[in-house]
Amino acid sequence: MLLRVEDLAFGYGNRIVGSGVSFGLEAGEILCLLGPNGGGKTTLFKTLLGLLPARAGRVHLDGADLFTLSRTAVARAIAYVPQAHAAFFPFTVREVVVMGRASRLGPFSAPGPADEAAAERALETLGIGHLSGKIYTEISGGERQLVLIARALSGEPRLLMMDEPTASLDFGNQARVLMQVRRLARSGIAVMLSTHDPDHALLCADRVVALQDGRLAACGPPAETITPELLRGLYGIDVVVTSVPGLAVPVCAPILD
């Protein structure tokens, strides 16, 4: 198992945000994290990335204790895709993507031709090779999100952690990002992503982890786990989960009264 989370408690300083969380993630698997705002998704991500210390429990990366690994060792295995943001300085897309090589370089070295080639490969994988000379701050939000995924891929990680990769993207770009997630998982990379849209979990996830008030509300295959009861518990609204002709997975829609 690539990542094993056992009875994890997480939080900032003395404040415990969540506890009792256990799940595992295999190579090539897509795990989707659902939960309301403030449910602890981002804090869980930061803890699994080793950016925050665990308050209790264990996280094993390839059998090794995550919190004893160096930043470089963690970053080589796990790549983080933040929400598309405006970088502060106007780097070119090429410069942004090659930053994903940092964990594979010594502290005083700069990327060489092999690293530049890895960055170009990552851009080609996502079909955005044409962006490489563009300025990151001048491309669209959807393109930025793809560039950040390319940056993560350029470090050749085995696990991608994506914090709401579809947030603030238009309908088409949301679907494009989800398609890329599926393609990456088929190539053997494990993907863990959070989303506010249960339909995204139904469309692409192998497993759903629902987090509510810092506790595991549900964990299992999406079609069995995402029920009106779970969604009402998570979000406090009535939801219809139904199958529609022509679609292999059910869809969710809220009931407005």
């Binding site: 300083g13 930061k46 990335l49 950016l51 160096s70 930043r71 470089t72 963690v74 970053a75 080589r76 790549a79 983080y80 933040p82 970088a87 502060f88 300085f89 106007p90 780097f91 070119t92 410069e95 930053m99 994903g100 940092a102 964990s103 370089l105 502290p107 005083f108 070295s109 700069a110 990327p111 031709p113 530049e116 080639a117 170009e120 080609e124 090779g129 044409h130 300025i135 470090g155």
Partner: protein, 351 residues
């Protein structure tokens, strides 16, 4: 459109060649500026005489110029030129580093209180009537002390974003130190000490000796070394603490190292010349407009541009009027309009 690694490597080496020719070109421009600065001044030296002096000193040719010319070139102008190059390069590199670390285009090397601390140290030295070397020593110690205090506060307050805490602590500590400077100005003898204090706080290269430069050079090199060696990592630092750490950068080690380097360089520069504002703020912007934000090119560009900029400003300061204008005034007067013009011209580089 898939491109092979050969195409990528070719493109990379093409960019390298372009960078190399730009470096050679800017080096030649700087050399021309240095020769002009040796020749121009209140006592004009012809290029032939300048060649004679340099030939005598560098190549051991027989001297054929009056001793007065040699004195002007080597004793008066050379120390100022060397100091201008070193201080301009140092302040610009420190400014570029701080702007990246704090992700803010308004950041200058004073952000963590180094100028205020050095200012208080120097003003105290002038107030107590200490010799020049002691004033410089106090300025250096004051600059480092102020930043150490700010960094200590930043480490003690762990509840907020570490970068924001540092900036706010720097503002607060700077205000206290500024109050101390103002108090000493009120207390100082208005006929002797106050002009000296004012002159020092505006920065000048007029009394710099080669010995002064030699004294601060080790500190400069020590401070610049991490900035130069870690310059690609600076790109990652400019993404912010969390993203840099997620990408595998140990920011808890890198940030103090970079802050220490930039602070050492600034404190050393300020202790020798007084507070010269604007350079550390503006030169990194100009460099970014010219070569982009990648620190692999930005840092060398800042070093060269900063050296050339302060040399030019000092040349104006000592040759434009009948009295010598303090550098702090000129760096703003020359720099700000040029900066606004670049801004209007609209090249990439601002946040």
């Amino acid at each position: 459109m898939s491109r092979g690694p050969a195409a990528v490597a070719g493109e990379v080496s093409a960019r390298r060649n372009l960078g190399l020719s730009a470096a050679i070109l800017s080096g030649l421009a700087l050399l021309a500026l240095i020769l002009a600065a040796l020749a121009i001044g209140k006592y004009p030296v012809s290029l032939a005489d300048l060649g004679g002096v340099l030939g005598h000193r560098l190549l051991g040719l027989p001297s054929r110029v009056p001793a007065a010319v040699e004195t002007v070139v080597l004793q008066v102008r050379l120390p100022r030129i060397v100091a201008a190059l070193v201080v301009g390069a140092a302040l610009s590199a420190a400014g570029a580093t701080y702007q990246g670390l704090f992700r803010n285009p308004l950041v200058s090397p004073d952000i963590l209180g180094v100028s205020a601390g050095a200012g208080l140290g120097a003003v105290l030295g002038i107030y107590l009537g200490l010799p020049v070397a002691a004033i410089q020593g106090l300025a250096f110690a004051g600059g480092l002390g102020a930043v150490a205090l700010v960094y200590g506060v930043g480490l003690a307050v762990r509840r907020h974003d570490p970068v924001l805490t540092l900036v706010l602590a720097g503002v607060a500590v700077g205000a206290v130190l500024g109050a101390g400077i103002s108090l000493l100005k009120v207390l100082a003898d208005p006929y002797n000490q106050l002009p000296a204090i004012t002159f020092w706080l505006l920065g000048s290269l007029s009394s710099v000796t080669l010995g002064d430069v030699a004294a601060i050079l080790p500190m400069m090199l020590l401070g610049l070394t991490p900035l130069v060696l870690l310059r690609w990592r600076m790109n990652l630092m400019s993404l912010g603490d969390e993203e840099a750490r997620a990408l595998g950068v140990e920011t808890r080690v890198l940030r103090p190292v970079l802050v220490a380097g930039a602070t050492l360089v600034t404190a050393a520069a300020v202790s020798m010349t007084g507070v010269i504002g604007w350079i550390g703020l503006i030169v990194p912007h100009i460099a970014r407009l010219l070569v982009g934000p990648d620190y692999r090119r930005l840092l060398p560009a800042s070093l060269i541009l900063g050296a050339g900029y302060l040399l030019t400003v000092d040349l104006i300061a000592r040759s434009a009027g009948t009295i010598e204008v303090p550098l702090g005034i000129l760096t703003a007067l020359v720099g700000a309009p040029f900066f606004l013009w670049l801004l209007a011209a609209g090249r990439r580089g601002l946040g």
